[in-house]
Amino acid sequence: MNIKVRYFASMRDRMGRAEDTVSVDGDTITVTDLWKKASGGQDLPASTLIAVNMEYTDSAHAVKNGDEVAFFPPVTGG
């Protein structure tokens, strides 16, 4: 399955790109493992926020085919 991954703000600068499409074997993958694949084995930086399908969630969340996953720093408000 293919998962769309998006990065915002300083996370986009850090990754050097705004989004990835990550190919995953199997029906599901945790956010933690998805991040490892997308980042080339790095640990998820402390205080990173996660959204799956535009709702906040945590790193244990099981991502499924067609989900959109986003990583970003704490929001600063408008």
């Binding site: 915002f8 703000a9 535009m54 709702e55 704490p74 408008g78």
Partner: protein, 167 residues
Amino acid sequence: MAAQTHIKVIVQEEALDPCQATEDYQTSDVATGKYGGVVTFVGTMRDFNDGHQVSEMYLDYYPGMTERHIEKVCEEAAEKWEVMNILVVHRHGAIRPSDPIVLVAVWSAHRANAFDACRFVINYLKERAPFWKRETTPQGQRWVEHNTKDPAAEAAANNTVGIRRTA
């Protein structure tokens, strides 16, 4: 209440003219002669922050998620206070000092409800809405940091809004 409240949320890159936006919306969407008052908040970029000069600000956002979460907060306000219409217009992208950044306008039969709902929505926008600020100062560009010890707790708080949640 929520079913009777009309809510409109716009996140735009174009310059914001708060007066024009309020009047256009009022003409097209607000029932004439039925509301007693409208409370508006217009937030404007200041030319200083934390003691240093800021010449430009860039606001990043998450298209789709940002609007959806602002709408949820407007719905929550409409459940708490009887209001007729809520309009939110928020800038993203490059913003210069004294540019209007955000407009919140709330129409209501009774002014107390309009004040409370407007304040609730702008507090959310300023504190928890999915925006990220990058400032340009004499020392260069920097993302404004908001350090979080516990991202899971912050995520939960952001989902529920709950600035004045009673449960």
